[in-house]
């Protein structure tokens, strides 16, 4: 059951990722990215990461996509309005990406990974919170300062003065 779901989600992931990088329309590209992020969240659910799946839907599929769509609409309006971009796929980038992916796949397949799966945790979110607020408390606080700095920086950069 979960294997079938995984294959369906993987196919969606790959197809929509290809759509993101090949379509000429900016808006379609962002919408395909939205679908990619939703299927990633689905795979997170299958891999016993409910909290991360929900965060993926809220933060990535929700906030990030809307932010990017706002920027697309703001930067394609105006005198030279055009929503399409001519992409000229250069041969060397295709070759580079295929070689890179092949290398990664070769490495993955040449290692025999442990097949025995540990028993699935039942209270993932609780355990994650315990880890985050005890063992990883300092990185957590540093991450919040980083978010604050990025917020202030984005406002300072984008405001009109």
């Amino acid at each position: 059951m979960s294997a079938v779901l995984f294959y369906i989600l993987s196919a969606m992931l790959i197809l929509f990722s290809l759509k993101v990088v090949t379509t000429k329309n900016l808006f379609h590209s962002v919408m395909a990215a939205f679908a990619v992020l939703l299927s990633t969240a689905g795979i997170f659910f299958l891999l016993n990461a409910e909290f991360l799946g929900i965060v993926e839907i809220l933060v990535y599929a929700g906030a990030v996509t809307i932010l990017v769509l706002f920027v697309v609409m703001l930067t394609t309006a105006g005198p030279q309005y055009r929503i399409t971009w001519e992409g000229t796929p250069k041969m060397w980038t295709v070759i580079f990406a295929v070689l890179f992916g092949g290398m990664l796949g070769f490495v993955v397949l040449s290692i025999d990974w442990p097949t025995a799966r540990p028993a699935a945790l039942t209270d993932v979110t609780r355990t994650l919170a315990m880890r985050l607020f005890t063992e990883y408390l300092l990185p957590f606080e540093v991450a919040s300062i980083l978010l604050l700095a990025a917020l202030v920086g984005a406002i300072v950069l984008a405001r009109r003065d």
């Binding site: 294997a3 962002v30 703001l74 971009w85 980038t93 295929v98 699935a120 950069l157």
Partner: protein, 103 residues
């Protein structure tokens, strides 16, 4: 028969390569940043898969994935601010027409 670790790793590798291709080819800053997010997502997928399949220490991979998400959200917010600034100053966000820093 369920999911195996190498299947998830292959999927993440494919996703990373597609994101890499997009980041190298696309002209719009917005899509380049979206492709970088795709690559971040592939990395997160790897971390979650390792956390699921090798129970070395419970959920350490998921904690790392949380931090990767925080950093990539910061990066994306700043990139979007820079894109708006570029559009205001240069009236374009095509990466090959933004060449004022070329030596």
């Amino acid at each position: 028969m369920g999911i195996t670790l190498s299947q998830v790793l292959i999927l993440a590798a494919a996703m990373f390569s597609i994101g890499l291709y997009g980041a190298l080819t696309r002209k719009s800053v917005v899509i380049v940043v979206m492709c970088v997010e795709l690559m971040f997502n592939a990395v997160n997928l790897n971390l979650v898969a390792f956390s699921f399949f090798t129970g070395l220490s419970a959920l350490r991979g998921q904690v790392f994935a949380v931090f990767v998400m925080v950093v990539s959200a910061c990066e994306l917010g700043l990139c979007m601010a820079i894109a708006i600034l570029l559009y205001r100053n240069r009236a374009t966000i095509e990466v090959d027409r933004i060449n004022m820093m070329k030596w």
